[in-house]
């Protein structure tokens, strides 16, 4: 039975129905348990640890620092350089430690998701490295990486226009649900990861794989943005806990 068949049939019923309970007992619009902690790495300029469901991810920020080789430096702004990497034991079966094409692509979309939030123009010719290490993966790693990277950037004292918050929504058995875990991810008809800048009202990450009518897709985006707003609060809490007040970090 193909995905499209399901989603097309259920088109009329996919309006954030919240009756069915999910694999892990969550409601359709409920996030997985989320925990963010900043300043967790002694040698990084900024860092954060996130648990989002069973995802366990460390992000370290280094910089602004000098770009090597210098000819890659941008004359008017800093270069943001995101790297996404998974530990060999983060998934089953074990994966090779060499970067995959998927890793490269996720590094690119992380970069695009975060760049609009950073005052890069304050650090011409320099580089800001954001290294995300996925220690354990449970679906939605890219959104978790973006959430942690944002907190780590603030932790590094880098001035931000806004906090980037990221979350996916998807469709399972015709129902739109928030923040899919990996059991759901594999079963689901579609997955829509989104990153959002609440102050600026901008979507900075948007991907989708699956088969969805436009309306269902945009409903997914709306639900994912709802999730982002919830996560934004948690990010602020994590920073407040560390700094007393998070506002100054956002200008």
């Amino acid at each position: 039975m193909s995905k499209a068949k399901i989603t097309t049939k259920k088109k009329t019923t996919t309006k954030k129905t919240k009756e069915k309970t999910r694999f892990d007992g969550r409601k359709a619009n409920e996030l997985r348990p989320l925990k963010i902690e900043s300043s967790v790495l002694p040698n990084a300029d900024g860092s954060a640890y996130i648990e989002m469901g069973r995802n366990k991810i460390l992000v370290g920020v280094f910089g602004p620092r000098e770009m090597h080789p210098r000819r890659f430096a941008k004359p008017n702004e800093a270069t943001l350089r995101c790297r996404y990497h998974m530990s060999p034991f983060s998934v089953d079966p074990r994966r090779s430690p060499a970067p995959s094409r998927r890793d490269t692509e996720i590094g690119m979309v992380m970069n695009w998701a975060i760049e609009p939030a950073v005052f890069l123009e304050k650090y011409p010719r320099s580089v800001i490295d954001v290294y995300a290490e996925v220690l354990e993966a449970d679906g939605g790693t890219r959104t978790a990486c973006i959430n942690a990277a944002t907190v780590a950037l603030v932790d590094a004292g880098i001035p931000m226009r806004d906090l980037v918050s990221s979350c996916a929504a998807g469709v399972i058995d015709g129902q739109i649900v928030l923040d899919l875990g990996d059991y759901e991810d594999k079963e689901g008809e579609a997955d829509v990861p989104v990153a959002y800048l609440p102050k600026l009202g901008k979507i900075t990450l948007l991907q989708m794989d699956g088969i969805l009518p436009i309306k269902v897709f945009t409903d997914c985006v709306d639900l994912a943005i709802d999730g982002c707003l919830q996560i934004n609060e948690i990010q602020r809490e994590a920073l407040k806990k560390k700094y007393g007040i998070s506002e100054e970090a956002e200008e």
Binding site: K3, A4, K74, G201, L206, Q207, I211, I214, F217
Partner: protein, 264 residues
Amino acid sequence: MASKSGIVSRLKRRKIQEVLGAGNRMDGRALDEYREITLKTGPMEKTSGSAEVTIGKSRVLVGVKVQIGSPFEDTPEKGVLMCNAEFTPIAHPTFEPGRPGENSIELARVVDRGLRSAEILDFGKLSLIDGSAVYMVFVDIYVLSYDGNLFDAAALAAIAALKTAKRPVHTVKAGVITLTKKTQALKILRSPLAVTLAKIGDTFMVDPTADEEEVLDARLTVAFDEDGNICTIQKGGSDGITTEELHKALELAQVKAAELRKHL
């Protein structure tokens, strides 16, 4: 796909934005207008299927090969689809020979994800001996000339090559695989086509040129199947878009996808 921070890029951007301010594009096109598109299927004889697409001065050749190989460990009874993209150094002065860069990896991944999420093939029917011998479908995207919008050209060429591909037919008797002289179409179940929009300033336009890609703020690629469903989305570029912009962009893309489909 160069950096937009250099002086040349900034001058280029200023010029493009000036013209856009008057509702025009550098090459005189309307914002929702594609450049000329050509599609030729079957140019390569040694493939199972092939197609060449030009969109303006961009040119992409896709070759499909169907061969016997080993299945993946976690899907022992299924055939395999592999997408690969090569930015040949003849395509643009800035393309260097060597290992695939980020942009060619993204291109291959987006086309691959499009084909996969549209479930274009019944992979369960592409196994010869479960666990040890299945058909491998290689889709090689060969970029021969670059002037922007490789996503749409590659997605169109890929599906056109797949739809016209003929795979070898083998018989299996007592665990022995024998090649027959027959061939058979791949039976493509769905045909996703990609439409790419660029946002420069606050203006959206379809089918960006290399110059427009160099200076764009955001890029949105949407693949649609024949029923108008979205199969894949990829946002690129270092600016965000609002939900309103997204809605308009999706509507425009859906219309353009239907237009593109006429070439198939």
